[in-house]
């Protein structure tokens, strides 16, 4: 009886591991196929996190049933991934929006740019000068949009020598 339960739990954990690996494959597929940074981070953050949580839960059950060791490292890893993956995705998306990575042309809403405009905060989002640099989000092999160089810097550097000469 105990043997049967142990075998059952082992098969359950192995199926969880397989499910997690499949979710990771789907996440990589979304990362390749989706057209935009923001849509891609949707795939990269959520389904990859669920995949790794499934894998870690499966490994924890596998070791608990077959070797009678409850690994605290795996439990800590589960909690840590659950907390940090949304934070990392959010930081990455906000940094992309602020440094002027353009949205997909099919996007119909940009609430962060609207909120920044309403608050009077300068936001590079979609109305900045970086839009003309990198117009199309996709189909640009290996050409990252340059991080926005402030164009005032050049004119500011050229002006100071003049007062010195006079």
């Amino acid at each position: 009886m105990l043997q049967t339960i142990q075998l059952l739990i082992e098969w359950l954990s192995v199926l969880l591991i397989l499910l997690g690996a499949l979710l990771s494959v789907f996440s990589a597929f979304g990362l390749i196929r989706l057209p935009d940074v923001y849509l891609r981070s949707h795939a990269a953050t959520k389904s990859a996190t669920l995949g790794v949580l499934c894998v870690l839960t499966g490994v924890f059950l596998y070791f608990a049933s077959s070797m009678q060791t409850a690994s605290m490292n795996i439990l800590l890893g589960i909690v840590f991934f659950f907390i940090t993956a949304p934070v990392a995705g959010h930081l990455n998306g906000r940094a992309a929006h602020r440094s002027g990575v353009p949205l997909w042309t099919g996007s119909i809403q940009d609430e962060l740019a609207d909120a920044a405009k309403a608050a009077g905060v300068p936001d590079a989002g979609t109305s900045g000068a970086a839009m003309s640099d990198a117009a199309k989000p996709d189909d640009m092999p290996g050409e990252p949009p340059t991080l926005k160089e402030p164009s005032e810097q050049q004119s500011g550097r050229q002006e100071p020598p003049e007062p010195k000469e006079t």
């Binding site: 690996a21 990589a28 490994v59 890893g77 840590f80 995705g89 930081l91 940094a95 092999p141 990252p144």
Partner: protein, 96 residues
């Protein structure tokens, strides 16, 4: 059971390869950062499965370590992309 674990490891390797494609091709830096973060998470899962496959608990510190390294790397790269530097000086208060 070992066969299923092996298949899962191969699937995860496939996922890492797909993320690597996005790292190499991705048009903006944010694409590369997101793909690198996903690669770190997938490597942690792969190491955990390797531990289950070899029935050894020696790999489990590496799972936590890969998670922490992927998170810190993502945060540092995102801050660098956003502000041009990683750490802010305490007294220099530039408006973002």
């Amino acid at each position: 059971m070992q066969t299923v674990l092996l298949i899962s490891m191969m699937l995860l390797a496939l996922a890492i390869g797909g993320c690597l494609y996005r790292v190499l091709k991705g048009p903006s830096i944010a694409d590369r950062i997101a793909a690198l973060d996903t690669i770190g998470v997938n490597v942690a899962a792969e190491v955990a499965i390797a531990g289950a496959y070899t029935r050894s608990t020696a790999y489990f510190e590496l799972v936590l370590l890969m998670g922490i390294l992927a998170f810190i790397g993502t945060v540092a790269l995102a801050r660098y992309m956003e502000r041009g530097r990683v750490l802010d000086a305490p007294d220099d208060s530039t408006p973002d």
